[in-house]
Each structure stands twice: as structure tokens, then as C-alpha cells.
């Protein structure tokens, strides 16, 4: 399945194209303000450096996973604005479990488990107790914002915590797999490919980046090709139709929200474990990624592939911003450069705010009620 085939509806493609153009235009405008074409060229060169792509891919992981989770929840009719909170707890959970077990993979599972538990709480509150989804989602964020640093301080004595290890590279994984021939040949091939300018970054990324691509494909398939995907869609558009067709709406919604917990959990754990540490002061290391995720799937029109593309757009901006900070190409002060992703979110939302939400999103549904 190619990206263009999956993002088949014209609307989504047009939106993405315009959003990309708008982002470029904005950046160019900002640069023009600073003056010289030399700077512009330097920035363009930076844009096509391998390290920028590598950073963009790395930064995409938590946003993309959270966006996938958000798609499932919102398509089923439960707006999960608590994605940010799920990312925060799983970022800490991943580091905590890794620090105990010494295994990042167990850490990943731990992060997923914590995030799923919090998503379960959210689901119960929204589905069983008819809470206002926006306020409950906000509460999930606030709880996580307090809980993760609290737990970090209890366990590690500081709001920042170290896992002691990070994800191995895909090459290391292969090398250690113990498979004859495949391991050595694979490693050699990867090394060669990694040498390619720019796209080489695709071949030396963290395993989480590959998992992200797999998850996007799997989510697309689940939503568009399976019965469960149909039910999720119906549950968000016309829950009554689903109910009268004999499918329990609350079950579909529970499943979708829990799935959003699992996916966001992978994203959060990947975020902290790819750095090997959890940063818990202020808005934590998640720093709004959960909210950006919401914008990416709105922009991607609830299509996982569209969400991935818009995630790459935002993450690309963020990567560029990081490179700009690192290389001192520009005279713009760092705190201002740091606002680029946030400002672009606002601009994109203002341009494409009129996303068609699922008909029943945000509404409680009670079987037998008319």
C-alpha cells in the first residue's frame, strides 16, 4: 500500500499540500525578515541534511503513535484530549521499568501498561459515568502532569530520572540476533545504505521508527478493512445505527480508547527510552506533543497515513528548529525559534479548523435511549 493510494481522498491530499506549502512559506517569511539569502540557503541546506531527517523521524515517533491512538478514540466518538497525559505517564513508566529490569523492551511494555491503565480510567469515566470528554481528558493530562514527577521524585529523588540504557540500533539488533549470514549480511547492507546522503537516516534509525511505520500501516488496515474498523467508524458517526445492528457501542468505544492508551503508551515510552531518561519538570519532556498529535490527525482527516505525513511535517519543523539552535545559522534567539512548531500548529488549525468531526464525537451514548 503506497502512501498516495491510502491518502486517496483528494481533500486530505490537498490539505496536506497546502499545509506543507503554508509551513514552508511561513518559515521562508520568517527567514526573509532576518535578511540575507545566504541564510536562506544555509537553512535549505540544513533541511536536506541527514541529521535533520534523522531528528525528524525520531521526533515523529511519539507524535505519530499518539495521533494513531487519538484517531481510534475520536473515530469511535470519544475525544481523547488526554493523549498528552498518556504520553507523560508512559514516558516515565518506560524509564522506571527499564531502570528496574535493565531491559528497554520490558520498559516499553511497562510504559504501555501504565498508559493503558490511565486510558482505562478515562474510558470508564467517559463511557460509564458520562463525564464531559474534554474536561475528563484535561483531567487525565493534569493527573499525569502531577503523577509522573511525583513518582519520579519518590523513586529517583528527582523529577528527572535515568533509565540507564536506550534502544539499540536496528543494526545492533540484527548483529545480536544470532542468525547466521542474515545478521552479518544485514548489518553490512544497513551500513552501506546508511551512508547514502539524507535518506541514509532511514537505515540507521531506532527500531521505534520502524515500528511507527508498521503501526501506521496496521492502523490503516484495521480502520479501513476490518469489521472492527467499521464498527469504530459507525460508533462515532451514528452509534444508534451500530446499536440497532446488534453491536454494543460501549464495547467498541472501550476497545478504541484502550487502543489509544496502548498506542500512546508506545509513543511515550519510545520518547523517553530513545533518550534513556525522563525529564519531569515544567511541562515535562512531552511538552505538548500530545496536543500536536491531535492537530496532526485533524489535519490528516483521521487517516493514519495522513496523520503520519502531517506528523512528519511538524516533526520536520521541530528538527529544523533544533538544527537551527545547534548550528547558530540564524541570529534569531533560541526561545523564539522554539515557538515555531507551536505557532505552526495554530496557523494550520486556523487554516484547516473546519475539520468534520465524527457526527457523535463528544457525545455520550446510552443504549435504549432515544
Amino acid at each position: 500500500m503506497s502512501a498516495t493510494a491510502a491518502v486517496s481522498d483528494l481533500g486530505t491530499r490537498a490539505r496536506l499540500a497546502v499545509a506543507g506549502a503554508a509551513a514552508l512559506f511561513l518559515s521562508a517569511g520568517a527567514l526573509a525578515l532576518t535578511g540575507s539569502t545566504d541564510v536562506l540557503l544555509a537553512v535549505l541546506a540544513l533541511l536536506f541534511e541527514k541529521s535533520t531527517l534523522a531528528a525528524a523521524l525520531r521526533l515523529s515517533v511519539p507524535i505519530a503513535f499518539a495521533a494513531l491512538g487519538g484517531i481510534f478514540a475520536e473515530k469511535s466518538g470519544v475525544i481523547n484530549i488526554g493523549l498528552e497525559g498518556l504520553l507523560i505517564v508512559s514516558a516515565f513508566g518506560g524509564v522506571y521499568v527499564t531502570s528496574i529490569t535493565g531491559s528497554v523492551w520490558l520498559g516499553l511494555l511497562g510504559g504501555v501498561a501504565v498508559s493503558t491503565l490511565l486510558a482505562l480510567l478515562f474510558a470508564i469515566v467517559c463511557i460509564e459515568f458520562r463525564a464531559d470528554q474534554i474536561i475528563a481528558g484535561l483531567a487525565i493530562w493534569l493527573i499525569a502532569l502531577g503523577l509522573a514527577p511525583f513518582a519520579s521524585t519518590v523513586v529517583f529523588g528527582s523529577t528527572n530520572a535515568s533509565a540507564g540504557t536506550t534502544f539499540p540500533s536496528i543494526g545492533r539488533l540484527l548483529a545480536n540476533s544470532g542468525l547466521p549470514v542474515v545478521s552479518t549480511a544485514g548489518v553490512a547492507a544497513l551500513d552501506a545504505l546508511a551512508g547514502v546522503p539524507f535518506f541514509g537516516a532511514l537505515f540507521e534509525a531506532s527500531p521505534m521508527v520502524y515500528l511507527m511505520f508498521v503501526a501506521v500501516g496496521a492502523s490503516w488496515w484495521t480502520l479501513n478493512r476490518t469489521s472492527f474498523g467499521r464498527w469504530v467508524h459507525a460508533s462515532g458517526e451514528n452509534p444508534k445505527a451500530l446499536d440497532t445492528a446488534g453491536v454494543r457501542v460501549s464495547r467498541v468505544r472501550y476497545a478504541a480508547v484502550l487502543l489509544s492508551g496502548v498506542l500512546a503508551g508506545v509513543g511515550g515510552a519510545a520518547l523517553s527510552l530513545s533518550l534513556g531518561q525522563f525529564v519531569g519538570n515544567g511541562p515535562t519532556m512531552v511538552n505538548g506533543k500530545g496536543f500536536i498529535a491531535i492537530v496532526t490527525y485533524l489535519l490528516g482527516n483521521y487517516n493514519p497515513v495522513g496523520a503520519l505525513l502531517s506528523t512528519l511535517l511538524f516533526a520536520g519543523l521541530d528538527a529544523l528548529q533544533l538544527s537551527l539552535q545547534g548550528q547558530n545559522v540564524l541570529a534569531i534567539p533560541r526561545p523564539l525559534v522554539r515557538t515555531i512548531p507551536y505557532v505552526s500548529v495554530i496557523v494550520v488549525l486556523a487554516l484547516f479548523g473546519k475539520t468534520r468531526l465524527p457526527e457523535a464525537a463528544g457525545e455520550h451514548y446510552e443504549s435504549g435511549e432515544e
Binding site: 467508524h233 459507525a234 458517526e237 446499536d243 446488534g246
Partner: protein
């Protein structure tokens, strides 16, 4: 007889309400059975019990599409039994959810279609029962298509499996609903008010479909409050009133009057008697108005007419033919794409709601609970709605709640709103009382022009008569009234001139006393009967302005709807 369904002494109570009271109903296999009654008679509740959406408080449900079996063998004549029905051998069924009912072969076509608009026809039909392949990893879309085509062919339906629901017409959507039930193996189909959203032609098509289905051995129960349809389509009619079964009759050998009396419980006046109007000059002028709906589709297409002081100008038509958009353009809730709206000689096309209200326009909206009232506000606060910036309630930005309360009390007294309590929340009132309060509030503005959209929809008979009388009183005071309603009896009875809308256009303007039901039916389906009845029933109207006007009985040769539309 072969019984397919029997509801035995069903009682359904809600907190404080008995919706069904000891209702027994028996339906023969392969027939169409109409469940007739007024709004609120308990029809839908009864069918929801049959469909497993509600659990009955008391009583038993027996269902078998192939026919029930009886104690002591097949098909006794039943004469010997005390309640006239044979005893059933099987245990009664217990439906905890629609799924159970579906499994037992009951399918329900709800009044508001249970379809997922952005999905295709085939996806909707198979929803919840998708054919799968690859061990459940994928929906077998080809199999789904096949199944749909197969069913359509068997019952002579014409549907395109890959069309998206939101792109097909209401009639097709209804067929999709029926197919959905058939796909699930329904032997008994329950249709809730299936004709409410259809044009007369589509209704005929539906009745043909029902014939096909009964020929194939399916059993149909259809809920309606329309006498004529029950008589036309059904083999047997059961009438519900106040939650009770007041009688089942074969359609052969019964009359409209007989059914009407059963329905209402008293002899009803089917006609509203109103004295003729004495209209003055044009108050509300609609000139070439075109408007698009939210999706950008043209909903109102070059409509022109004028409502004069002292007349009720009615607009009839099947719901969804642009009436709502037209009303919103007139009242300032929707901006027209082209055309002008004039109120008492002033161009108000670009005026806001507030400016129009100030200029003397009152508006009884179509949806009282969405627009007309703030449900969580009490009546005092609701009485201010629309005048919150104006005297007598507001003075330099401050609200005078004592005056507001006095106003609310006046409305409550004068319009007999119950409970008579200005501090009661709007949501605590019944639909009829909510509507009476809105009518009272709008009349209290002392308007020069009133726009009333479906003013008695979902309102009980007592309140309906009351509201009708008030509308006529207002007219007799020399105010202009624009009345939009999908109830034919209502618009015909109250209007002095009657326009019929179809697909955004005014098909024609007629004299409601002259036009026949057949002619109106044709017009509502978009056809202009020939000759078109004249538009005026008032003999002594002073023809004061220079607009073309046709007087009653004067065959002037001018087309009656010349001032309404030039199509």
C-alpha cells in the same frame, strides 16, 4: 390463520408514565398490519418492546416468522378460547437487546434512519454482520456486494451497493434500511412512520415494495398516524390510544370516520373554520431569494412572494424542500446567496436577527428545544430571549428582572402555560406548554409580521387549537403571518393563500379552499396541475399597490402565481 407475532397483555411503564397499558396484538403472517394512533399513543414504545429495546413491565412476546404453534396442534379456530386467541405452545420470548430480536427474525426500520451517512450502502447493510475473510482479518467486500445485489434482485429493489448514503435520496435510504433488516434474515419487518419523509410518489413506491415483501411471505407492521395510509396499505389496522389497544379492524369494510373516532376518542373536526381575511398592503416581501444550505447545495431557488397585512400566507410541502432555509433567510439566521427581503417597505436582507426583531418581526421557530427556548433557563429568563437588549427589559445594558418576571407571568396566564410558574425551567414543561410560551412571547412583541414555522409540531390537540386561534386573531388584527407547516390540514385550514414548495422552488400559489388534495399532492411532488387553482379567496381585497394581484373569482388571465415565481 397463521400468527407471526403475538404481543400478549403488554404493559410498559416509565417513571410516572404508563406508555403501554395491557396491549394485546396479533399479526398474521404475510400481511401488512398498521399500528395507528396519534403522537403519544404508545405505538413506538410497543414496537420497541417487540424489538428488544425496552423490556416490558408485564406481558409476553411471541414471535415466529413462519407462524406460531398452538397447544393442541396446528391452527385451531380459536373460537373456544376465552380471549379469542388460541393458546401458544412455545414459551414466550425474552428480548434483552435488538440482537435477540434480530436473531428471532424481527427487523425494525426506524423513523430516523439508522444509517451511517459517510459509509456506503453495502457497508451499512452488512454493518455488524460483515462477511469476513482471511480468518477475520479483513471484511470480504466482494461478498458483501454480492449479498446486497442478490437481495435487491430478489425483492425487486434498485440500489447501488457502492453509493454513499449521504449521496442517495431518502427513498433509497429507506430501502437500504429494509435491505439491512432482510440481510439479517428478518421475517417480520416493523416500519416506524415510514411515510413521514417521503413524497406522495415515493409513498406509492414504498407500498409496492411492501406488497412484494408480503408476497414473499414476510410480515409487515407499520406505525402511522395517517388514517389514509393505514387504510390504503394495510390488511388490518390496530388503533392505539393513550397506550391502550382500542380496537383492531380489517381494512376491508371500515371507514375513515370510524378509524378517526377510534384514534381520537371523540368526533373530530377535520376542518378548521376561519372567516375570510381582509388583507391590506404587502408587509413581508420576498424577492428572488436564492439560498444554499450548509453543504453549498441550492436549497432555496429564486423564490418570490409577498405576505400582506391581515393575511396568513401558508407554505406547504414535504419537509426538506427548502422551507427551513427560506424561513431562516426571512428571519435573518441564514444569509441568502441572492435576492431581497423587505419588511414594511424596508430592505432587511442584510439586517441581523436583532434588527429584524426590532423592526417588528416575530418568529416561532421550527425547533423549540433547540432554538426557541433555552432549556436550562427558567421562563422569566426565556421571556427575555430576543429582547435582552431592548426596552422594557434592558436599560443601559442592565436587565430589569422584575419586569422580565412580570412579562413571564403575563404570558403564562394569558396562554395557559402549565405549570403556571415563571420560575420553572423550560425543560420541565411539556412540548405543548413550551410552544404556548414561545407563542406568547412572540405575540407579546406586538409584531407587524409573524413567521411561524411548524407551530404545532408535536403539540397536543388542545394546545394546537389554541395556537391556531391565536394565529387567526393576529391576522384579524391586520398583521402579516407567514405560516410554514408540513401538516396539510393545518396550512389548508389557516392560510388565505397557499404556496407549495418543491426542491427549493415555489411550484405554485393556490387558494386553499379551491385546491383539491390530489392537486396538492401533485404539486408537492413538483408537478403543476392543469389548470392551476386560483390563488385568492378574498373578494374584497383592496388592490392598493401596483403588484400584480389576482382576485377571487376574477379570471383575469394573469397566472395566479405570477407574483410568486417565474419559472
Amino acid at each position: 390463520m397463521t400468527e407471526a407475532v403475538r404481543l400478549d397483555s403488554i404493559t410498559k411503564r416509565f417513571p410516572g408514565v404508563v406508555a403501554n397499558d395491557d396491549v394485546t396484538l396479533s399479526v398474521e403472517r404475510g400481511t401488512v398490519h398498521a399500528l395507528l394512533g396519534e403522537n403519544g399513543a404508545g405505538k413506538t414504545t410497543l414496537m420497541n418492546v417487540l424489538y428488544g429495546l425496552y423490556e416490558p413491565t408485564a406481558g409476553d412476546v411471541y414471535v415466529d416468522g413462519d407462524g406460531l404453534t398452538y397447544e393442541g396442534g396446528e391452527e385451531p379456530d380459536g373460537d373456544g378460547d376465552s380471549d379469542g386467541l388460541p393458546r401458544i405452545a412455545e414459551a414466550p420470548q425474552r428480548f434483552d437487546s435488538p440482537r435477540d430480536a434480530i436473531d428471532a427474525g424481527v427487523g425494525m426500520i426506524h423513523q430516523h434512519f439508522m444509517l451511517v451517512d459517510p459509509m456506503t450502502v453495502a457497508e451499512n447493510i452488512t454493518l455488524g454482520n460483515e462477511p469476513r475473510k482471511w480468518g477475520g482479518l479483513a471484511v470480504d467486500r466482494e461478498a458483501a456486494r454480492e449479498a446486497v445485489l442478490d437481495l435487491s434482485e430478489r425483492y425487486g429493489f434498485d440500489v447501488e451497493p457502492d453509493a454513499t448514503i449521504e449521496d442517495v435520496g431518502v427513498g433509497v435510504q429507506q430501502r437500504v434500511e429494509i435491505l439491512k433488516a432482510l440481510y439479517r434474515g428478518a421475517e417480520i419487518l416493523v416500519l416506524d412512520e415510514p411515510t413521514a419523509v417521503l413524497t406522495p410518489q415515493e409513498v406509492d413506491d414504498l407500498f409496492e415494495v411492501l406488497d412484494e415483501l408480503t408476497d414473499a411471505g414476510k410480515t409487515i407492521i407499520f406505525i402511522t398516524h395517517k388514517l389514509g395510509e393505514a387504510l390504503e396499505a394495510a390488511d388490518e389496522v390496530t388503533v392505539l390510544r393513550d397506550g391502550r389497544n382500542v380496537g383492531s379492524v380489517e381494512t376491508v369494510g371500515t371507514t375513515r370516520e370510524e378509524l378517526a373516532e377510534l384514534m381520537v376518542g371523540r368526533e373530530v373536526m377535520l376542518e378548521t373554520e376561519t372567516p375570510p381575511a381582509t388583507p391590506g398592503s404587502a408587509s413581508l416581501v420576498i424577492d428572488g431569494v436564492t439560498a444554499r444550505d450548509d453543504r453549498g447545495v441550492v436549497a432555496v431557488d429564486d423564490v418570490s412572494f409577498a405576505v400582506r397585512e391581515g393575511e396568513v400566507f401558508g407554505i406547504a410541502g414535504v419537509d426538506g424542500n427548502g422551507q427551513s432555509e427560506l424561513v431562516e433567510v426571512v428571519t435573518g439566521l441564514h444569509r441568502p446567496a441572492a435576492g431581497r427581503v423587505e419588511l414594511d417597505g424596508r430592505d432587511v436582507t442584510d439586517a441581523s436577527r436583532r434588527e429584524r426583531t426590532r423592526a417588528g418581526m416575530a418568529y416561532i421557530p421550527e425547533d423549540r428545544q433547540e432554538r426557541g427556548l433555552v432549556m436550562d433557563f427558567d421562563l422569566t429568563e426565556n421571556g427575555v430571549l430576543g429582547s435582552q437588549h431592548d426596552a422594557p427589559f434592558a436599560e443601559r445594558g442592565r436587565l430589569d428582572w422584575e419586569r422580565a418576571e412580570d412579562r413571564a407571568r403575563e404570558i403564562v396566564d394569558e396562554y395557559d402555560v402549565r405549570p403556571p410558574d415563571a420560575a420553572a425551567d423550560a425543560k420541565s414543561l411539556s412540548g405543548g406548554n413550551q410552544q404556548k410560551f414561545i407563542v406568547g412571547r412572540e405575540f407579546a412583541r406586538d409584531p407587524s409580521c409573524l413567521v411561524a414555522s411548524h407551530p404545532t409540531r408535536g403539540v397536543d390537540i388542545g394546545s394546537t387549537e389554541f395556537i391556531h386561534d391565536r394565529l387567526v386573531d393576529l391576522r384579524d388584527e391586520g398583521r402579516a403571518v407567514l405560516l410554514v407547516s408540513s401538516k396539510l390540514d393545518e396550512v389548508r385550514g389557516l392560510s388565505d393563500r397557499l404556496a407549495v414548495m418543491y426542491r427549493g422552488r415555489v411550484v405554485g400559489v393556490v387558494d386553499p379552499d379551491e385546491v383539491t388534495e390530489e392537486q396538492l399532492g401533485l404539486m408537492m411532488a413538483g408537478e403543476r396541475p392543469d389548470p392551476l387553482p386560483r390563488a385568492e379567496r378574498v373578494g374584497d381585497a383592496a388592490d392598493t399597490d401596483d403588484r400584480k394581484r389576482v382576485r377571487s373569482g376574477v379570471a383575469s388571465g394573469e397566472d395566479a402565481d405570477a407574483e410568486a415565481t417565474d419559472d
